[in-house]
């Protein structure tokens, strides 16, 4: 699946940050950028899952379009002129990260994912050192009813990776989103304790895709969580199997 610069009948060129790059028909802007080592921050995106377009961190400028568009869910087209960063975009991205920190209770010092958290990494990379908006400090539950895993709503960023992996890869569709707006929550089945779910296969895929410390294995240590990253490599393989089945 490498198609960096070999022109094929299905390839075309576009400009990203002033450089001409080759893309394949059907690729998103993000996929093209990643093929050419152009970094665009992402959070809800995960290779192998249907793009969601919810975190808005991957927004890029496209010449001629009045609005910023999400690179993860916008198809690359011929002669597109994409700018992946600017002071304005960076300011927006930083504010979005701040909004995420303010939304729930992200207390890194006591989190098993400390050091392995994508939210934390994003904040560091973007130089977010202060949260300018008021913290919300919601009172949220921790669901420890499952034998092997834990869901801590305090650390969830509602990226829905767990929902998508559960439905698209595992085929169990245990995880879903309940409520709406600021009250949205990840739920199991029809909002039951995770341990009582009859659809959950305990495969652990949701835990392995979670970018934060919201989904964890019980009894894990910091070092164990570091391994999670590696397990994510599993996903592209799983996607291929899934596509083969169709």
């Amino acid at each position: 699946m490498t198609h960096k610069s070999i022109p094929t009948p299905d390839s075309f060129t576009l400009r990203i940050d002033g450089t001409d790059v080759v893309a394949q028909v059907g690729q998103s802007i993000l996929e093209v950028a990643q093929d050419h080592n152009i970094g665009i921050p992402t959070l809800c995106y995960l290779e192998g899952l249907t793009p969601w377009g919810g975190c808005r961190l991957c927004l890029v400028e496209i010449k001629g379009s009045g609005r910023l568009l999400p690179a993860c869910s916008t198809l690359a087209t011929e002669d597109m002129d994409v700018t992946t960063t600017s002071p304005r975009i960076e300011r927006y991205r930083r504010t979005i990260v701040e909004l995420l920190f303010s939304e729930r209770n992200h207390i890194c010092a006591v989190c098993v994912s400390n050091g392995n958290c994508e939210l934390q990494t994003l904040a560091q990379e973007m130089g977010v050192t202060h949260v300018h908006v008021p913290y919300r400090y919601p009172t949220l539950l921790v669901d420890s009813s499952h034998d092997g895993f834990r869901l801590d709503h305090n650390r969830c960023v509602m990226c829905t990776r767990c929902v998508r992996v559960c439905e698209e890869i595992e085929g169990a569709a245990t995880k879903g989103v309940g409520g709406r707006g600021i009250d949205s929550m990840i739920i199991n089945d029809l909002n039951e304790p995770w341990g009582e779910s009859d659809t959950c296969t305990s495969c652990g895929k949701c835990v392995s895709v979670c970018p934060t410390g919201a989904l964890t294995e019980k009894g894990t240590t910091f070092a164990d969580m570091a391994k999670r990253r590696e397990r994510r490599e599993l996903l592209p393989y799983l996607t291929q199997t899934r596509e083969g089945r169709r």
């Binding site: 377009g53 202060h130 707006g181």
Partner: protein, 549 residues
């Protein structure tokens, strides 16, 4: 049915109606119903029966007559008399006086600007026909445009006619309707769909409900013409479940149209077929957004998705889909009947035709109005609505609901058209228009709309989900005299981020009410601020987030 049979039916029905000496139209739209119109109608029916006048007098339930502030309304045909605030007690007197002078006590003056300054296209039949009888619609020329379209015009010609008319979407954004039809017509797909958006979610707005309750066939005819133009065979009307009367009348209307061969296979005995089904809205405001609406019809959670691709190319079940608002479709039959030239002669250069508004606030008269584009806000507020009673003074008019803005007195002479309203930081919107007097505090108004957006946000994207919450918190803080200058700056910054980065129109426009009140009524924010120092200028450090290097 053939077009000739339609004309025949139309003539017969008109003759039947002319057989009555009097026709008493009782408004049975939601607002009059809630003030007792059904009882009045029953009372009139009984009285007429008891007096043995059934051959002479027709009592007809009709759609909205507009002046909801004076309901229940009863209109007399052919006398052209309008009675207001009619109660059951008034019934004997009304029936008694049918052959003599009207009852002066109940008379509503129809020469006032409320009636004279309006221009009715969408509402031309509203209050004049029985929405529950297809024959009534056919008697006033209904379904004739469809006959002409199917027998005399190519689909391209229909699209071109809509392009020439200059019609723009009435659901809020004002996208050129002809252009959209053309895109769907050109798109390729196994199937194509036509969807009528009747999810009307702006608080206080009821234009679409009134159209559906008063003249449902008009919307069906518009959709059918659209289906022919774009090449669709299946249509859906997505209606709010909170509109039971509109749903009932639509169901009835669809059955009647099927019975007469105006829906289903071989419409007007041509090869064209088209069927409309009703889908009930899930009750969330965001389901009115076109991609969320489509997801909801498909049976999923009503969440918006990024566009492009637009529904015109990739809509319902991935097929090309035309989605228009109720009022947009309600203009179509009239445009084809009177011609694009006629339609485009009404209004301004870029905004053609009329717009229906639901007018609310401390006004002498309020209700449902239809005005030509280009009319000034002043004419609407002071002529049509008769200004503010009891010496109250005008402060602002809000258009566009939670996506719109507040326009102050000094801009009252602005023309009502898409561009002018947008320049003022408001929008045409779908037709909500709320007038406010001196007693309204603009920070409070902004807070009200932000609360609406916050509770209606679907939560899919971060800037809208958390941003509306934060903006609401800041507005609340400022309103309660606890906000600082820094809070106000932060509010403005969040307005920009949420507008620029949200996924769908809800988030993108949620800051509008704040921006417009900040633009025209900044002093109302500033006078509530307390001095800085409560919180440091640089905000809370990410203290809890002790990051490992």
């Amino acid at each position: 049915m053939t077009p000739d049979e339609l004309s025949q039916l139309s003539v017969e029905e008109r003759e039947r109606q002319q057989g009555f000496e009097h026709c008493l139209n009782v408004c049975t739209a939601a607002s009059c119903l809630s003030s007792g119109a059904e009882e009045v109608k029953k009372g009139l029916t009984t009285a007429v029966k008891e007096k043995g006048l059934r051959e002479k007098c027709r009592i007809r339930g009709a759609g909205c007559m507009g002046l909801c502030s004076s309901g229940p309304l009863v209109a007399l045909d052919p006398e052209d008399v309008l009675y207001q605030h009619v109660g059951v007690d008034d019934v004997p007197e009304i029936v008694e006086s049918l052959d003599t002078q009207p009852v002066p006590r109940l008379l509503c003056d129809t020469t006032i600007p409320f009636f004279q300054r309006q221009k009715k296209i969408v509402l031309e039949n509203s209050g004049r026909i029985d929405p529950e009888r297809i024959e009534d619609y056919i008697a006033v020329g209904g379904y004739r445009s469809l006959a002409r379209v199917l027998t005399e015009m190519d689909p391209d010609e229909v699209v071109q006619e809509i392009v020439n008319s200059g019609l723009r979407g009435r659901g809020g954004a004002g996208y050129p309707t002809g252009l959209k039809w053309g895109t769907v017509a050109k798109a390729t797909g196994a199937e194509k769909y036509v969807i009528c958006n009747a999810d009307e979610g702006d608080p206080g707005a009821f234009m679409d409900r009134a159209v559906l309750e008063s003249d449902p066939h008009r919307v069906l005819e518009g959709m059918t013409i659209a289906a022919y133009a774009v090449g669709a065979t299946q249509g859906y009307i997505y209606v709010r479940a909170e509109y039971p009367l509109a749903i009932k009348r639509l169901r009835q209307a669809i059955k009647q149209a099927q019975r007469l061969g105006l829906q289903g296979d071989r419409i007007y005995e041509t090869p064209f077929r088209f069927t409309v089904d009703i889908r009930l809205g899930a009750g969330a405001f965001v389901c009115g957004e076109e991609t969320a609406l489509i997801a909801s019809i498909e049976g999923g959670r009503g969440l918006p998705r990024p566009r492009p691709p637009y529904p015109a190319n990739h809509g319902l079940w991935g097929c090309p889909t035309l989605i228009n608002n109720v009022e947009t479709f309600a203009n179509v039959a009239a445009i084809l009947r009177e011609g694009a030239g006629w339609f485009s002669s009404i209004g301004t250069e870029k905004s053609k035709g009329t717009k229906v508004f639901s007018l609310a606030g401390p006004l002498s008269r309020y209700g449902l109005i239809e005005v030509p584009m280009g009319i000034s806000l002043r004419e609407i507020v002071f002529d049509i609505a008769g200004g503010l009673p009891d010496g109250k003074s005008f402060k602002a008019v809000q258009t566009g609901g939670p996506s719109g803005g507040c326009i102050p007195a000094r801009h009252l002479d602005t023309s009502v058209d898409y561009e002018s309203l947008r320049e003022l930081g408001a929008i045409m919107g779908s037709g909500g228009m709320i007038v406010m007097d001196e007693s309204s505090n603009m920070v409070d108004v902004a807070r009200f709309f932000m609360e609406f957006c916050m509770t209606e946000s679907c939560g899919k994207c971060v800037p809208c989900r958390v941003g509306t919450y934060q903006m609401h918190t800041l507005l609340d803080r400022i309103y309660n005299r606890q906000g600082t200058k820094r809070d106000l700056e932060l509010l403005s910054e969040l307005c920009e981020v949420v507008r620029e980065t949200s996924l769908c129109g809800l988030g993108q426009t949620a800051p509008n009410p704040v921006n417009s009140t900040l633009r025209y009524f900044r002093d109302e924010y500033e006078e509530r601020l307390v001095s800085d120092g409560v919180r440091g200028p640089s905000g809370d450090p990410l203290a809890q987030v002790e990051m490992t290097p």
